[in-house]
């Protein structure tokens, strides 16, 4: 059984259902990419994994989130709260807002060790310095006493990751951790996270809209579209032989090396609005291969090789 197994996750907010029937699984030493554009529901899924849905008046309407054999949706929310920070950690997009501006960054990492590991001040500080070294932060003891505004974006994000790891979690959920950073810094942070997964045997759920990051960092991928899974499978298959027309179109939106100008098309139309999500295939209006079946029913998630696809006319089915 994998460390995290999510089945049929359906999230509701008020009278809307922004996420429907999401399955995913990730094990130790593995990086799972959760990819999607705006409105795909990927951030909400992250919040569900962290047990933070009540913050936005959301709730799990159906499905299960099984962490280390325990179904969190079936237990009182207090259990999820106790796991948060300790066994499941969150790294968010904007380090500027996840760090307290009036406390030193070192104190903030220390706090996690003291809270979740019960360490005293001296041991916590030592542990923080060790973590900062692991994060490849130069001159850790000097940085420990600095305030967030004195650090660059990349540094701040490393601090946030150090805080996430201070509780010694088994699972890390990273929601667009590098989107706000410069390109060269992005590369460093992503490599760092992948190395941490391998070295520490962490499970990482990496949420992003950037297919490049997915290709370079992830082992398996879940592609979300308008709240539902379009396709899921090993990263090589997703890129070399995508089965869902959306996946293929999405990959086609990224210019490749040597691609001539004038060949980038994009996907016509736009994502349906949450307010009127159709029951049938949500990608159909924009899909070149759509037929009458596609606008009358929702496709189920079927297996094709090592992947699973929700499509009535998957590409390369017979391949």
């Amino acid at each position: 059984m994998a460390l995290l197994e999510v089945e049929g996750l359906t999230i509701g907010i008020g009278r809307f259902t922004p996420v429907e029937g999401v399955d995913l699984a990730v094990d130790r030493g593995e990086v799972l990419g959760l990819v999607g554009e705006s409105g795909s529901g990927k951030s909400l899924t992250a919040m569900a994994l962290m047990g933070l849905l009540p913050l936005i008046r959301g709730e799990v309407r159906s499905g299960s989130i099984v962490f280390d054999g325990v179904d969190l949706t079936d237990r009182p929310p207090d259990l999820h709260r106790r796991l948060r920070g300790r066994r499941i950690a969150l790294v968010t997009q904007n380090p500027m807002t996840s760090l307290d501006p009036i406390r030193t960054v070192g104190a903030q990492i220390d706090e996690v060790s003291r809270l979740h590991r019960g360490l005293d001040a001296r041991s916590a500080r030592a542990r923080s310095l060790a973590l900062m070294d692991e994060m490849r932060i130069p001159r850790a003891s000097a940085v420990h006493g600095q305030y967030p505004h004195q650090l660059s974006g990349g540094m701040k994000q490393r601090i946030v990751i150090a805080m996430a790891l201070a509780g010694d979690p088994d699972l890390v959920v990273a929601d667009e951790p590098t989107t706000a950073l410069d390109v060269t810094v992005q590369a460093q942070i992503v490599r760092l996270m992948v190395d941490l997964v391998r070295d520490r045997g962490l499970a990482l759920v990496l949420i992003t809209h950037d297919m490049g990051v997915v290709a370079q960092a992830c082992d398996r991928v879940v592609v979300l579209y308008a709240g539902r899974i379009a396709e899921t499978g090993p990263v090589e298959t997703i890129f070399a032989a995508p089965h869902h027309p959306y996946t293929r179109a999405l990959i086609g939106c990224i210019p490749t090396e040597g691609q001539r100008r004038g060949t980038l098309i994009g996907i016509p139309g736009q994502v349906p609005s949450l307010v009127d999500y159709p029951d049938h295939c949500r990608f159909a209006p924009r899909c070149a291969a759509a037929s009458a079946t596609c606008t009358s029913a929702a496709p189920a998630l079927d297996a094709i090789g090592a992947s699973r696809v929700a499509c009535f006319h998957p590409l390369g089915r017979d391949a």
Partner: protein, 326 residues
């Protein structure tokens, strides 16, 4: 397609000062550091770099939205800082900008059609109501929007649609130069591709010159004819074509950092260590020296200049010379 530059930067410097007053010390940020650049007409010139490189400041200097602290910016041979208000207004009709954030580039209280027609209003171009409505409808159609959207308010539109409105407004006065400041950075990938395709079509149809600012090297290489690479206010390299051999270590690092969407090509190396330094205290030598794996003593003392060739690079040890293998 002539090679006459429609836009020229001559040793342009732009400083911003902060602090000062009684309690803080006055610090000067040199956003653009003696840039010489020619933007040829009819082509797409890309400007790429990370935060603090000065590309956004360059964009604003190009349109005369801010003035250089030193040097000159010449549009069609005219020094922008030396124009009268009336002449400047007329010049502005020929050079327009598409902004990064579609959400804030249109006044939220204005209907989309009014926003698109505002250029006519500002430039004092009189037209009958029927003419105005027709021009608005034309512009909307040109950017792929339905003419019935003219009465909508911005918040009814999606990000991609709002950006199309921004483009329509920029084209209303039929400019020759369009500066695109990260026009797709806030948009989803699939919408980004739509907008880029739209921009390509418009360029061909209207014979435009683009100055395309972006941090996305992959996109720049796809879209642009020549690429200007900036770092901390200086131009470090100008690639005459997207597939030209890279000569500057920073450009190399930028290339290596771009995530290729191909899992079979996993890169392990990162060439740039450390972080971008602050533009407040620029080192005397090459701005990139602190992070460059090939830097020698000379690099730290003497600021390299852009060499005047078809593929200019500002480096004492460019990558095509002996020793530095990429």
């Amino acid at each position: 397609m002539s090679d006459r530059p429609i836009l020229r930067f001559e040793s342009v410097v732009r400083d911003f000062s902060s602090g000062g007053g009684w309690f803080g010390e006055r610090r000067v940020l040199r956003a653009v550091n003696a840039v010489d650049l020619k933007v040829p007409a009819g082509r797409v010139t890309g400007v790429v770099g990370e935060s603090g490189c000065g590309k956004s400041t360059l964009a604003r200097l190009a349109l005369g939205l801010i003035r250089p602290s030193a040097g000159r910016v010449l549009f069609e041979g005219e020094d922008l800082a030396a124009q009268s208000r009336g002449r400047m207004r007329r010049l502005r009709a020929r050079m327009q900008m598409v902004f990064q954030d579609p959400y804030s580039s249109i006044d939220p209280r204005w209907a989309v059609g009014d926003a698109i027609a505002e250029p006519f209003q500002v430039q004092g171009i009189r037209m009958s109501r029927a003419e105005r409505a027709a021009r608005i409808a034309d512009l909307l159609a040109m950017v792929g929007l339905d003419p019935s959207q003219a009465a909508s308010l911005p918040h009814h539109l999606s990000g991609g649609q709002k950006q199309r409105v921004g483009i329509a407004r920029a084209l209303a006065l039929e400019p020759s130069l369009v500066v695109l400041d990260e026009p797709t950075a806030s948009l989803d990938v699939s919408i980004q591709a739509q907008i880029i395709a739209l921009l390509e079509g418009l360029k061909a149809r209207l014979d435009l010159t683009y100055l395309f600012i972006s941090h996305d090297l992959g996109l720049v290489r796809y879209f642009c004819d020549r690429i200007v690479v900036m770092y901390l206010g200086s131009v470090v390299e100008i690639l005459p074509s997207p597939d030209a051999e890279i000569r500057h270590p920073y450009t190399r690092a930028l290339m290596d950092s771009a995530f290729v969407p191909d899992p079979t090509r996993r890169q392990r190396l990162t060439r740039a260590t450390g972080e971008i330094s602050s533009a407040f205290d620029l080192p005397p030598g090459c701005a990139y020296a602190p992070r460059c794996p090939h830097a020698v003593q000379r690099c730290r003392i003497e600021r390299p200049r852009l060499d005047p060739s078809t593929h200019p690079v500002a480096c004492h040890l460019p990558l095509d010379r002996a020793g530095a293998r990429s």
